[in-house]
């Protein structure tokens, strides 16, 4: 179906499947279990079929909290997705919980 974009565009969270390389922490965490805490997406440019996307991930915050499941480490990662014109297509902030 023709769209106002002239081609197909990606669904909102499609970029999650780009396999952005996650930064390695420079220290070991004594936790084996993990949970995805949530994600926040900001959209700047539509992702069109044929775009070449570059994803760069950066750890922006690490904090600890205690909850029902004991001590938890919250790791926030900001992933910036840019297209072939070097325009930001989207940013994604994810929260990973290690416990």
């Amino acid at each position: 179906m023709p769209t106002r974009y002239g081609t197909l565009i990606a669904p909102p969270t499609f970029l999650r499947c780009m396999r952005a390389v996650q930064p390695e922490l420079p220290f070991a965490l004594p936790f084996e279990r993990l949970l995805d805490g949530g994600s926040d997406w900001e959209y700047c440019q539509s992702v069109r079929a044929g775009d070449r996307i570059t994803a760069v991930a950066r750890v922006t915050d690490i904090s600890e909290r205690s909850g029902r499941i004991g001590l938890m480490i919250f790791i926030k990662t900001l992933i910036t997705y840019r297209n072939q014109f070097d325009d930001i297509a989207a940013t994604q902030t994810s929260t990973l919980i290690r416990y």
Binding site: P12, T13, C17, R33, D36, G37, S39, D40, W41
Partner: protein
Amino acid sequence: MAGQIFWEDVAIGLALPPLVKCPTTRQLVQYAGASGDFYEIHYDKDFAQQTGLGGVIIHGALKSAFLGQLVTDWAGPLGTLKRLSCQYRGMDYPNQPITARGIVTRKYQAGGEHLVDCTIWLENPAGENTTPGSATVVLPSRGSGVK
């Protein structure tokens, strides 16, 4: 344009048409392959139960994809999603219906755009909100000469 919602049609408190999903364990395996998230809690029941879960759980990112579909289906071909946010507070399990819902919370103009904020969430079969979130969309305005 048929089926297109316009900014002028929206009022605070308006409910988005609910989107019901019933992901299977097969879909979780497919999503693991698509996303590269092969954490065993999403397809290995024994493993999931050893970590204290009731069974395999739905990927958080798949749940946010359902919420994305809820909002973009509603905003229509002329709407544009600006922001999508959610927190995975409760576990959701496959082979049971989960319902994506949303309500308009704010309607405003900024930067020449006609914007709408929504509260969005996923509801499990018990009616519990497992995944609270929010979204912002740009909608076309009848006053802006939409083709």
